[in-house]
């Protein structure tokens, strides 16, 4: 089966600019996650979708970050305006149902804010 697709792989922007990341999960996976992985740290959950509804966005900085999952398939994560501390790898993962079903991760988007 095809994996979780993410684009772009790399992005360099200046602070205060905006950026968007795209994720296409595995077909049939109802649950989609966005994680932020800062260098030297473990991934931190930003937002979890179940189909096209938000399950958990408690750690999403909503003043600058937004995410949507239209039609319960693809998802977009946006940052506007970006700050230096947003430099990180943004990982998308999908799961049939979480928990015992396991999670499949994409290769991530490496964002550098200068």
């Amino acid at each position: 089966e095809a994996g979780v697709a993410q684009s772009p792989r790399y992005k360099i922007i200046e602070k205060r600019q905006s950026v968007a990341f795209w994720c296409n999960p595995i077909s049939g996976h109802a649950t989609l996650y966005w994680y932020q992985q800062i260098l030297g740290q473990g991934p931190k959950l930003l937002i979890q979708f179940q189909n096209n509804g938000v399950v958990d966005d408690s750690q999403l900085p909503k003043d600058r970050f937004s995410a949507e999952r239209l039609k319960g398939v693809d998802s977009t994560l946006k940052i506007q305006p970006a700050k230096l501390e947003d430099s990180a790898v943004y990982l998308c993962a999908s799961s049939f149902g979480g928990g015992s079903y396991g999670y499949t991760f994409g290769s991530g988007t490496r964002l550098t804010v200068v």
Binding site: Y33, G42, P43, L91, G98, S100, G102, Y103, F105, G106
Partner: protein
């Protein structure tokens, strides 16, 4: 609140030596436990998972882990490492969401 602690940020080891990467967790409810590996500039790949049943779990690439409920640990082991095992390893637990530890950098030297 649930949490995962990986006690070693870096583990250097020579090729063909055994290795253990330590993971402790905290949770007031039953959990599923996972080990993921991350090679440079790549996403996370599942090594193994504990859901229930046998406490010794075997995964890919010769890795295994043992779930110890009394010590709230889930240490990862390999009897003989290869250069290609050099990577970042993450322990994670799952209740209603997947929570990661800070990672252990395994560096295998020839």
């Amino acid at each position: 609140a649930q949490s995962v602690t990986q006690l070693d940020s870096q583990v250097p080891v020579f090729e063909e030596a055994p290795v253990e990467l330590r993971c402790n967790y905290s949770s007031s409810v039953s959990v599923y436990l996972f080990w993921y590996v991350q090679y440079p500039n790549q996403g996370l790949q599942l090594l193994l998972k504990y859901l229930s049943g046998s406490t010794l779990v075997k995964g890919i690439n010769g890795f295994e882990a043992e779930f110890n409920k009394s010590q709230t640990s889930f240490h990862l082991r390999k009897p003989s490492v290869h250069i290609s095992d050099t990577a970042e390893y993450f322990c994670a637990l799952n209740t209603d969401k997947l929570i990661f530890g800070t990672g252990t950098r395994l560096q295998v030297f020839p």
